[in-house]
Symmetry: C2
């Protein structure tokens, strides 16, 4: 009936499970067959099915939990984050390249966000920017708020792919963010960075895409400058 091409039973099983999801039109949250059932249906050992499930789970396509059956998963940037981090750690990607992509993406995001944001999202952005100011002395907390700010922005664009991509850079950003922040301390531009975020939030709330784009460009110019000043290759 079905002869997969991937060499190895596990690859076949991964394909079969993916096809099962599509064939049955499973939506996030829906349950998949048990390992035993899959194993019987595909005529392979439970070992093979388990490794296939694990693989799908690593890609965040399904979700595993002890005792429960596997479920179809909501898209999530966790796996992408790890991949990007791996690329950077193995010198296949450098930070400037990531910033170039982020600038490209996030410039578009703010345009869309300014147009499509709901009132709740606008309020949340302003609140986030304010929280950042309040957390000025707690670098770790500030960083998380910054990351949340950019994700909130992406969400307001109403395009989940943007959320995915912005999220994909979070992992590696957690590594580089402190470098940029410390570098700013030397240049006394921390306040400017905080003000920039507040301005940006207001521009989104005011539905002013042009201003939002300008502020975001400023933000990236400044961020890259801070990183370079810190000697980031």
């Amino acid at each position: 009936m079905q002869q997969e091409v991937g060499h190895g039973l596990v690859s076949d099983a991964i394909g079969a499970i993916s096809r099962h999801i599509r064939a049955h039109d499973l939506m996030p949250g829906d349950r998949l067959p048990s390992e035993a059932a899959m194993s019987k249906e595909l005529n392979v050992s439970r070992t093979v099915v388990r490794e296939a499930f694990r693989s799908l789970s690593a890609m965040r396509i399904i979700e595993l939990a002890t005792g429960k059956r596997a479920t179809v998963s909501q898209i999530d940037h966790g796996a992408m984050s790890l991949m990007i981090e791996h690329g950077v750690h193995t010198d296949q990607i450098n930070i400037q390249q990531i910033y170039d992509v982020r600038r490209t993406i996030e410039t578009r995001i703010v345009t869309l966000a300014a147009i499509r944001r709901s009132d709740d999202e606008a309020a949340a952005l302003i609140a986030l920017a304010q929280a950042m100011r309040d957390a000025k002395d707690d670098a770790s907390r500030l960083m998380e708020l910054d990351l949340a700010f950019h994700i909130a922005l992406a969400r307001a664009s109403k395009n989940p792919v943007f959320v995915l991509i912005v999220g994909a850079f979070q992992g590696i950003t957690r590594t580089t963010w402190p470098i940029g922040w410390k570098s700013r301390a030397a240049v006394r531009s921390q306040d400017a960075m905080l003000a920039n975020h507040a301005d940006l939030a207001r521009a989104i709330a005011a539905s002013d895409p042009r201003l939002a784009v300008e502020l975001m460009s400023l933000h990236f110019d400044e961020s890259i400058g801070a990183l370079l000043a810190a000697g980031m290759s």
Copy 2:
């Protein structure tokens, strides 16, 4: 020494292996410890180590092969492609959203490509555009050439993250491309599409970023139009 937080031994093992790669500064192609060695070092069964390896392999962080030891992997969009496809098939992402992202990314790509392309890359793009014309009657081959064209463009931008993102959309594009092509048949705009690619290749070769951006915009306007005409929601 090391107490991981993840739920389950496999998560711990994944973390340990990732850390091992970083701690030893392993580069793509370098070999990892054998399953048995890992299993002994982490005090878990080979089963657990194998599932961890499989997970990393699914994210294309390592590469597995029978008999050989696992090796650190080159970054690759295979996993991302599957994730995006999953998002689309489960109605979490729609095609227009993907096209919006692609337009954003690829507009930036052609700017960079026009500036940074090597002579070889320029020649390859022109050759690819010509090959597309020659394959006009073989939709399947034409599609693969089209995909290769966009990847070549991304490569010429000299930013591997762009290559990664463009590659991530290849999987789902293979599903939707034929729809757009057929729709074009009705409108007799296939030739225009082929000419557009040839023009684009020439603009890159001529190091004309402005023209390249304009042509790419045109391409996307036209592509999205074709998809909409075909009733793609």
